[in-house]
Structures are given as structure tokens and as C-alpha cells.
Assembly symmetry: C2
């Protein structure tokens, strides 16, 4: 999914300008929050005029919604190719390892840009809330697809609910990122994702794999 999908047809030049505005907004919001980002800041950072800005966006909310999509794209892109290989416990562990390592390497600051936006904006404009819902759903969709494949192929028990598992993993991820940002350590994120993947493993029909995962309590890719 790309932000281009959410916009009307534009000329190549128009699309480039719009992309520049959205990218600048996403950067600014990530750094200063939505409340701390003005349209003047966006114009300065993107080198665009007010008339250009209002040509592409109805208002600040509209721009923030585009920035939320942009942030979702970036977040998902950074997790590839692991994000597209979540149809096994080993794949989930590899994704977890990549995610935790990346957060560690970034100094455990910033948390989740999409989570921060949701924290700030979800109680406000309903249209923005709907976009935030769609962003989380899009991000969780590779989880949902992988877990569904595992269940449909009999590698998870029939009573495993891929939708519930995917949402619980996303909750663990979001809470883990918030606590890791607060403690400046990847420890909470790692523990939260280990819990979530161990929970998936508890539905595994491959007993030795599930036991191996559980007994070590680590996140090494074993299955």
C-alpha cells in the first residue's frame, strides 16, 4: 500500500510536490507531534507555498491523515522482507528480532510514529480516527494473513483466532514500543513480542517446536 492509492490522479510533477509535502509533514510530526507542527513549518520544510499546500490538502487534518498513511508505509517498508514472511513461528521470530534490533540501533527513542499520532489524535476528528484505524489494520494485515495460513494449513489448532492473535500482537508491539521509549531500552519491546509469539506457539500443532520455543524463553529463531 502506498499513499498514492489514497489520492486522486495527479500529474507526475503534482504527485512529486504532494509527496514532498507529505514526507515533510511526516518528518515534522514524528519529531514535534501534530500539535507542534504548523502549516508554516510544513511549507518551510517542503519548500512549498500556501496555495500549493491548499491545492493538495483541504486543511491540516487532511494533511495529517496523509502523514499517517505515509508513516504506515515507512514503518511497514522498514520491516520488509520479514513482514511478508509471517506464516511460521520461525518467521514471526525473525520479524521480532529485526524489529527489536532496529529499535535498539535507533537508541530506543521515538517509539512508534503511528502510535504517537494515534495517541495524540484518536480522540479528535472522526475522519482522522478512521484513517488511524485503517493504518493499524493495514500494518496488522501481514500478521493476519500469516496466522490465517498457519491455521488453515493445520499448523495452528482450529480454535486459534487469527484476527484476535494479530490484534493482540499489534497491542503488544505498541505497548512494548511505548515502554521501550520510556525506559530507553528495547527490553519491554522484546518481552512483549516474546510473550505474543509464545502465545501463538501455544496454539501450535507441532508440539516439539512449541515446547522448544517456550522452554528457552528467548527469541532465537528455532522453529
Amino acid at each position: 500500500m502506498t499513499t498514492a492509492q489514497h489520492t486522486p490522479k495527479l500529474t507526475a510533477r503534482g504527485a512529486a510536490t504532494r509527496t514532498r509535502i507529505v514526507a515533510a509533514t511526516a518528518d515534522l510530526v514524528r519529531e514535534h507531534g501534530a500539535a507542534g507542527t504548523s502549516l508554516d513549518d510544513v511549507m518551510a520544510a517542503s519548500g512549498t507555498s500556501k496555495s500549493q499546500l491548499y491545492h493538495y490538502f483541504a486543511n491540516k487534518d487532511d494533511l495529517l491523515r496523509a502523514a499517517a498513511w505515509q508513516q504506515t508505509d515507512r514503518t511497514m517498508e522498514a520491516q520488509r522482507p520479514e513482514l511478508d514472511q509471517l506464516d511460521s513461528l520461525a518467521g514471526l521470530r525473525r520479524w521480532r528480532d529485526k524489529f527489536v534490533t532496529a529499535h535498539d540501533e535507533a537508541g530506543n527513542v521515538g517509539g512508534c510514529p503511528l502510535g504517537s499520532l494515534a495517541s495524540e489524535l484518536a480522540d479528535g476528528d472522526p475522519q482522522t480516527r478512521t484513517v488511524l484505524q485503517k493504518c493499524f489494520t493495514a500494518w496488522a494485515s501481514p500478521l493476519l494473513m500469516g496466522l490465517t495460513a498457519m491455521r488453515d494449513q493445520g499448523r495452528l489448532r482450529p480454535d486459534a483466532d487469527p484476527d484476535a492473535l494479530a490484534e493482540a500482537i499489534m497491542a503488544a508491539l505498541q505497548g512494548g514500543l511505548l515502554l521501550s521509549k520510556t525506559y530507553r531500552s528495547s527490553r519491554p519491546l522484546a518481552r512483549a513480542l516474546d510473550m505474543a509469539i509464545d502465545h501463538v506457539a501455544s496454539f501450535s500443532t507441532v508440539p516439539e517446536a512449541a515446547v522448544a520455543d517456550r522452554s528457552t524463553g528467548t527469541a532465537a529463531a528455532k522453529v
Copy 2:
């Protein structure tokens, strides 16, 4: 724990004034965020003067730290007595049920006031970050104590790590609250806490209880 523990000795009248300022700040920050709350707003809401404000607080950061403690007190108080009875799976389920029901009854808005503050402030002032860490640690301490008792009494396996489990539960709680606020539904919160408590149950040495929990996939208090 009360905010009084974190402040120097005051006269009864001074303490009341300080409490009024902190309560007003916590209310405003919960509604408008830290960036959206000015000292003028606090003075107006608490009926205090600038000299009174600066008598008790060095600056806005100092006031925000007191508000974080206040919010932690309120959050923990709202979960009692269940929060103090977390030394069994049944106790954890009762706490979960109370928490989810309360969030539902509140319309699934607002998320976690402490989590929202952390999302906004954890990357800023280091002293504030330290207080936010302490607030989360304080909130998680009843979980840690309950899980430690369960392990020490042999109701959880010796390889259960109460510290890791408590932190993972707090992550599930925070992420669940953020997603529930975004989706305006207690579903993500309920799923995240069910996952977390099922994970604790996977360490239970009381097999029938653990199996009963797992097989239903619900959060009813059974153990």
C-alpha cells in the same frame, strides 16, 4: 503511593493548594495533552496565582511530573481492590474484567492518561522520563508482587520470570488501551489482556486450571 510522598513537607493549607494545582493540571493534560496545557490554563482551572504556582513548582516540567504521579495514583486507585489481589490467575482475570468493563463504560475514549503523557514526553526532559519510568514501575508493582508470590508458592513454574511477565502485561495493557481508543472498542484491550493472562497461565503448575483457561479463550474468572 500518593503524590504527597514526592513533595517536601507543607502546611495543611499549602498541601491543599498544591493538590488543587496538581489535580487541575492532571485534568487539563488528560484532556488537551501537555503541549496543549499552559500555565495560564492551570492557574485559571485551579484558581491560583502565578506566585502560588511558582511557590510549589519550579517550572512546567516540574508540574507535569507531579501530574504524572497524580495520574498514576488515580489510575491505580480506580483498579482497587482488584489491583491488590493479583496473586492468582482468578485474581488476574477479575482485574482484567474490571479494567475492560470500566473502559467500555467510559466509551473507550481517552486511552491511558499516563501512556499518553509518556508518548508525548518520554523523548524530552530526562528528569521527566525518569518519573514516567517510576510511574510505570509503580503501577506494575502489584503485578510483580502477585506473580512473584505465585512463583514462590509453586503455582507458577520456577522458570517463570515475574519481572518479564509483569512488564509484558503492562505492555499489553498500554498497547491494548491505545488500540481501543483508536478503534473506539474495548476489543483490542480485552484481547491483549487475555493473551497476557493466558501467557501467565502457560507457566501454571495447576494443569487443569491452565487448560481450562486456554481452551475457552475467554476471560471469565475460572481458576
